[in-house]
Amino acid sequence: MANQKKKKLTPVQQEYKDFQSQRETKRPILKNILKAYLVGGIICIIGQAIQLFYIYFFNFTDQTAGNPTVATLIFIAMLLTGFGVYDRIAQFGGAGTAVPVTGFGNAVISAAIEHRSEGFILGVGGNIFKLAGSVIISGVFAAFIVALVKTILIQWGGL
């Protein structure tokens, strides 16, 4: 793919592309990874605390505490998105805020807020999964493939 694209460029374009990329500020990858590790870790610690809270103060078990914990984290992410704080944390945290479930909540609610001006049906309804939709469809499709492989292996593979 990358090679195909390169072939399409004229020599002058290719020369400029290299010339430009030498002068381009690169993403500080190592710094970003460390930040993502820290921020993602902190979010997970908060999640763990919430889970323990549900187990100790309500009648949840290790297995059932997951759902209310995820819901609470998404709720917090939504509040922070609505107050305009989440995108600032995300600029710092990068993948640390995008990978946990909070990133998913943010993708949904930010699109909903953004398109509120076009009304509830066409605006919010039509655009709420603008960003998260591709995550859902990829997840569902991947789950389908994995389930298919598992079924085939169990049925015919004799696992």
Partner: protein, 338 residues
């Protein structure tokens, strides 16, 4: 009039008699708040959508220019301008209020100088004696148009730029007191095959270089002729790349005399990454800050090169590269043509 292939010399030297600049809270917090006529503390501007706020910015900038130029709204013969939103609706909607004959322009972030060049051409040729030109952008509505929702937590790379919430409008007349527009060079579409929409500066630099070199060649002057050559919104990356390109081409441009509007508008510690961008960026900085400096006598001659990336969210998703353009207009305090 036409000198070379694409440079106009304006022998009548149309005058920028007044300007109007409006900004938002982020600009008020920036480096040059005193050069704005009006600053808003809220990005909504008391409207219920950002698109309406975008329109209000331009309306207010027009009103300021009209007020400072001591004319009536009805005396405006034409308006030339545009913005970055689909079908340039904020500009067209603002023209419902202004009510003058209107030519909508789209040159992405180069719209400000496209408008000034065409405006000066019309005034110079006797097509009008008094017209308005300008452009506008609004951070939230432009981000919505081109990128992700404003509150979406995606990490931007260090090459990304911050869209200015602001508008700049100039009132151009055939006579009067003020800085004069002496020449303009119209840009060509230059596409160097870059595809990263988070690195506009790098994509636009060759267009700026092409237009500046054509301008200097066709007017037969060297870079020292201008006290300042200022680009629209190349940002850090684009400015450095273009400086190196000039070096490579053997054109001696002093670094202090080669500035960028995208680097003038905000303070260094504001979180704008590579600098500012947007069609309101060059308009607000040139019509506010730079013309004020010209009036103070800091600058005598300057060449404004507004740069635009002519992409849309659709073309980017279809893996098209980013075509870019730059228009140059020279503004001189005394208005002497060499």
């Amino acid at each position: 009039m036409l000198t070379g292939h694409r440079t106009w010399l304006f022998d009548q030297k149309p005058v920028i008699v007044s300007t109007g600049t409006v900004g938002g809270p982020f600009e008020a917090d920036g480096r040059i708040p005193d050069d704005f006529d009006l600053l808003h503390s809220d990005t909504w501007l008391e409207q219920d959508t950002f698109e309406k706020a975008n329109k209000i910015l331009l309306e207010e900038a027009c009103q300021k220019a009209i007020e400072k130029g001591q004319i009536q709204k009805e005396q405006v013969q034409f308006f030339l301008g545009g913005d970055l939103i689909n079908q340039i609706t904020p500009t067209s909607f603002a023209m419902r209020t202004i009510g003058s004959p209107y030519l909508g322009l789209f040159g992405a972030c180069s719209t400000s100088m496209e408008g000034l060049a065409l405006g000066a051409f019309i005034v110079n040729g006797g097509g009008a004696t008094c017209l308005l030109t300008g452009s506008v952008s609004h951070n939230s509505s432009v981000e919505k148009q081109f990128r992700y929702p404003t509150e979406y937590g995606g990490q931007k790379p260090p090459t990304a730029q911050w869209t200015v919430t602001g508008a700049g409008v100039a009132l151009l007349k055939n006579q009067g007191i003020g800085p004069r527009v002496t020449s303009a060079t119209i840009g060509k579409v230059v596409d160097m095959g870059l595809t990263d929409p988070f690195n506009m500066g790098g994509a636009m630099a060759p267009a700026a270089v092409d237009t500046i070199e054509a301008h200097l060649k066709e007017r037969n002057v060297d870079p020292t002729y201008y006290d300042l050559i200022v680009t629209g919104d190349l940002g850090n990356i684009g400015r450095n790349v273009s400086l190196d390109m000039f070096k490579k081409h053997g054109l001696a441009i002093e670094e202090e005399k080669y500035q960028d509007c995208g680097l003038l508008i905000y303070r260094d510690d504001q979180p704008v990454l590579s600098g500012a961008s947007g069609s309101g960026c060059s308009a607000a900085v040139v019509y506010g800050h730079l013309l004020n400096r010209m009036k103070k006598g800091d600058i005598n001659r300057m060449l404004v090169v507004a740069t635009g990336a002519l992409l849309s969210p659709l073309t980017f998703q279809q893996n098209e590269s980013i075509p870019c353009i730059a228009h140059a207009v020279s503004i001189e305090a005394g208005g002497d043509l060499s």
